[in-house]
């Protein structure tokens, strides 16, 4: 449940005031309260990684990071996390994963091991476990933070958190009051947004927004790929805080269109309504309840369509036993009702049998935080997930954290998670002319991962914070392609690939001067996959993922009074199969606060080369160099 982690990973440091700012307090006595409120604090520990007690590799992308990076869409914001792989393949399509296993389009293996949540609402598709990134959009202005947890967080976060969890948290309505207008344009994109927030009463705040954009097509090996797209969206949020309670109601509606080469547009539309209630009961005890409805439709005339309606209810209770043992437990149920009209994608031979289903995914979890002494904490948790195809899967997790001193935390974790079978695994039927070529497998097993992780997080000096995690993820029952005995076709999905991915993730942040901050990130991984005995070994183990062995990034943020300058350099290693060369690229942004009400910025993306390739799938576009001028007016 995304709601727990949101509460647990508070951004305020509140800890470790042990390093010097010589005579800081003597200088401050001369300042007025207004001047105190405008002082910039050395927020190293807040920038990339707060010294929270979370025994997991968590990277937090803050609202500041997003504003300075010039990112306008969620996938571009996710490039800021050093523990994610983000590859763009068209103006609207991205392949995103954590710790490898990004799949392979020839094997129809799409990245399907991430749990993505927006304010607790799960946005991965229950049809194939992947995420339609072109259907998820939040106004960058409204994002409070994005928490990226790599590794299996299955116990607490929710279903599908096999390789990681991305939790997008939006700001409270009270924090986005007033009017906001954004207008931007560049050589590849144009956008506009309008938002207004206010208070209906002393404890009732709201905001309403509308936004739209258009991204024009990229080029690929065949010339213009004709894959431009646009998507108007609108929504609202209402926060009511009677007493200690907090009630939030939010909703969005969108309807966009994507051009397709040689075909009519693909229409994507949908909406959602979420209600969240949190009720503190005093003494560290609290109750949370969340209900949401989500509807998504993709339609392409003559090529296929699906509609998906999701109804979800989750409840969570946390309390203490005695003065030290704190327990969180919860229960939830999700009903996904979908209907697929004959074809789902531009591939005209893809069918689903049955074409409509209602899936019921239920879960029960409990987690106990047990302090062992004043500096060590043990967390044990278990999630039981009941999916419509394979019954109950247990997902245990154990984590240990040791706060060595006020500035250093060492942690270790062992967890097990599963990716439940989806309709794509069980119901798909693909024809090649008159021949039934490939089918799903009604006995498809959940894919498994057992992860062992070790990490360190801390402040290395007054202005430097760092985080390092080592991981060894062992996979089993990964999807493979098997042959029917004797007749060979139809091929069917099996579970005969297993292996491991091991590596490290590291990041650090250095506040070099008052106005200059440097951040660096690095990850390295080694994937060893093999077939289980009896496998047909079709397509080889490369089908599991086409991942870079390493990625590195260096980001510089300079903030002067009214001017800020950001540069973000990234190096993504070579992809082996299909081959994509290693590339180095640079994004940059210059921002100017003309007045307290007006911000102007100019951003350049992918500046080092006229174009470069990031991944081979679908449109396989070349990602071009582009620029964007943005104005934001607040009133």
């Amino acid at each position: 449940m995304g709601i727990v982690i949101g509460a647990g990973l508070a951004l305020a440091t509140g800890l470790a005031p042990a390093r010097a700012q010589q005579s800081a307090s003597e200088d401050l006595s001369q300042l007025s309260i207004e001047q105190l409120a405008n002082l910039s604090i050395t927020t190293v520990s807040k920038v990339a990684q707060p010294l929270s007690d979370a025994a997991a590799p968590v990277y937090v992308i803050s609202q500041d990071d997003i504003a300075h990076s010039g990112a306008t869409s969620i996938p571009e914001m996710l490039r800021l996390a050093p523990n994610l792989e983000v590859m763009q393949t068209s103006p609207s399509a991205y392949t995103i994963t954590s710790r490898g296993l990004n799949g392979n389009s020839t094997a129809q293996n799409f990245p399907n091991k991430l749990l993505v949540l927006i304010d607790g609402r799960s946005v991965y598709s229950p049809l194939y476990s992947g995420v339609y990134w072109d259907m998820q959009d939040v106004l960058p202005e409204n994002i409070e933070r994005i928490e990226v947890v790599s590794g299996p967080g299955g116990t607490l976060w929710g279903a599908n958190a096999v390789n990681g969890v991305i939790n997008i948290v939006t700001r409270k309505a009270a924090d986005t009051s007033g009017g906001f207008v954004e207008l931007g344009g560049g050589d590849y994109a144009a956008s506009a947004a309008l938002q207004y927030g206010g208070a209906l009463d002393s404890d009732l705040n709201y905001r309403v927004y509308a936004k739209t954009f258009y991204d024009r097509a990229f080029d690929n090996g065949s010339g213009n790929a004709h894959d431009g797209w646009g998507k108007p969206q609108g929504g609202f949020r209402l926060d009511w805080s009677p007493g200690q309670d907090m009630l939030t109601l939010s909703g969005d509606l969108y309807s966009g269109a994507q051009a397709q080469a040689g075909a009519t547009n693909q229409d994507i539309s949908g909406g959602n309504l979420t209600a969240h209630w949190s009720h503190p009961l005093g003494d560290g005890e609290a109750l949370q309840l969340q209900v949401y409805y989500d509807s998504a439709t993709r339609f392409s005339a003559g090529n296929g369509a699906f509609t998906l309606n999701t109804y979800d209810v989750e409840a969570q209770h946390n309390f203490r036993i005695g003065s030290w043992n704190s327990i969180v437990w919860g229960i939830g149920d999700r009903i996904a009702q979908y209907r697929i009209t004959p074809r789902i994608a531009t591939d005209s031979s893809l069918l689903w049998a049955p074409a409509a289903r209602t899936l019921n995914l239920a879960n029960l979890f409990a987690e106990d935080h047990i302090p062992l002494g004043s500096r060590v904490e043990l967390t044990v948790g278990l999630k039981l997930e009941n999916d419509p195809y394979s019954g109950i899967s247990p997902m245990p997790s154990g984590r240990l954290s040791w706060k060595v001193d006020n500035n250093d935390l060492v942690w270790a974790a062992a967890s097990h998670a599963v990716r439940s079978p989806t309709p794509f695994d069980t119901d798909v039927v693909e024809d090649l002319g008159a021949i039934k070529y490939l089918t799903g497998n009604s006995h498809f097993l959940p894919e498994q991962v057992t992860a062992y992780e070790l990490g360190y997080r801390g402040q290395l000096g007054p202005d430097v914070s760092a985080s390092l995690s080592l991981f060894d993820d062992m996979y089993d029952d990964l999807r493979s392609v098997e042959l029917t005995p004797i007749t060979v076709v139809p091929l069917y999905w099996g579970n005969k690939i297993r292996g491991e991915v091991y590596g490290l993730e590291a990041w650090a942040s250095w506040q070099a001067t008052d106005w200059w901050r440097l951040s660096a990130g690095f990850n390295q991984q080694q994937e060893n996959m093999r077939f289980a005995p009896g496998a047909a070994q079709v397509l080889g183990t490369a089908q599991v993922g086409d991942d870079p062995h390493h990625q590195a990034s260096l980001r510089s943020t300079m903030i002067f009074d009214a001017v800020s300058f950001d540069a973000d350099l990234r190096d993504v290693g070579m992809l082996a199969n299909p081959k994509v060369p290693e590339y180095v690229e640079l994004n940059s942004r210059l921002g100017w606060k003309v007045s307290p009400m007006l911000d102007i910025s100019i951003s350049g993306y992918n500046l080092l080369h006229a174009r470069h390739l990031e991944y081979v799938t679908g449109a396989q576009d070349w990602i071009p160099r582009s620029f964007f001028i943005d104005t934001k007016w607040r009133f």
């Binding site: 005031p17 042990a18 307090s25 401050l28 309260i33 409120a37 604090i41 500041d64 404890d203 200690q244």
Partner: protein
């Protein structure tokens, strides 16, 4: 400071470690200490909160002290009106003798005696705590939210000037 360290080493009070080990604190906490002292001139307590017209305003800390000497220096630098006195509370029962009470953590907040919310004590906590004034970190600034409803309920009048400087204010619901 050396004497304090010796006492702490002997007595092994957990509260001593944070304050006495290092005389210098981060800017974040120095700002909070400065705020605690500077709030005092903007707050009016009922006369019943003080024993005598010259009695000091007590700024108390409940829980482990994150400020150390910085708070004492900040309190000494605010002149005019009643003097400010910094006290580190050994137990929550003494909370009602304070005029400003800083709650260092959730345990401190949970240990407050029932009925304190009726007394003229300005509670100050971190974001998410239940203090009348809560420190929040907004972007890279340390600011504060004020719950004026709770303040008025306790008989405390917070000047509108301080309310206007706050990051967010929870007002008393207007009477019909």
């Amino acid at each position: 400071m050396r004497t304090a360290r010796l006492v702490c080493a002997v007595v092994l009070l957990a509260a001593c470690v944070a304050g006495a080990v290092s005389a210098d604190i981060s800017l974040e906490y120095a700002i909070r200490a400065a705020y605690l002292a500077k709030f005092a001139p903007f707050i009016e307590w009922p006369d019943s909160a003080f024993a005598t017209p010259g009695a000091a305003i007590n700024i108390c800390i409940l829980g482990s002290d994150p400020f150390g000497a910085a708070l004492d220096r900040a309190a000494a630098s605010v002149t005019g009106g009643r003097p400010l006195l910094v006290r580190r509370l050994a137990s929550p029962e003494l909370a009602s003798a304070c005029q400003i009470l800083y709650l260092a953590n959730n345990e401190a907040a949970a240990s407050l005696p029932a009925g304190l919310s009726e007394r003229p004590v300005v509670t100050v906590s971190e974001a998410g705590g239940a203090g009348m004034i809560a420190f929040v970190v907004d972007g890279n600034h340390v600011r504060f939210d004020i719950d004026d409803d709770a303040a008025q309920h306790s008989g405390i009048h917070i000047s509108s000037k301080l309310l206007s400087l706050a990051h967010a204010v929870k007002h008393k619901a207007a009477a019909p």
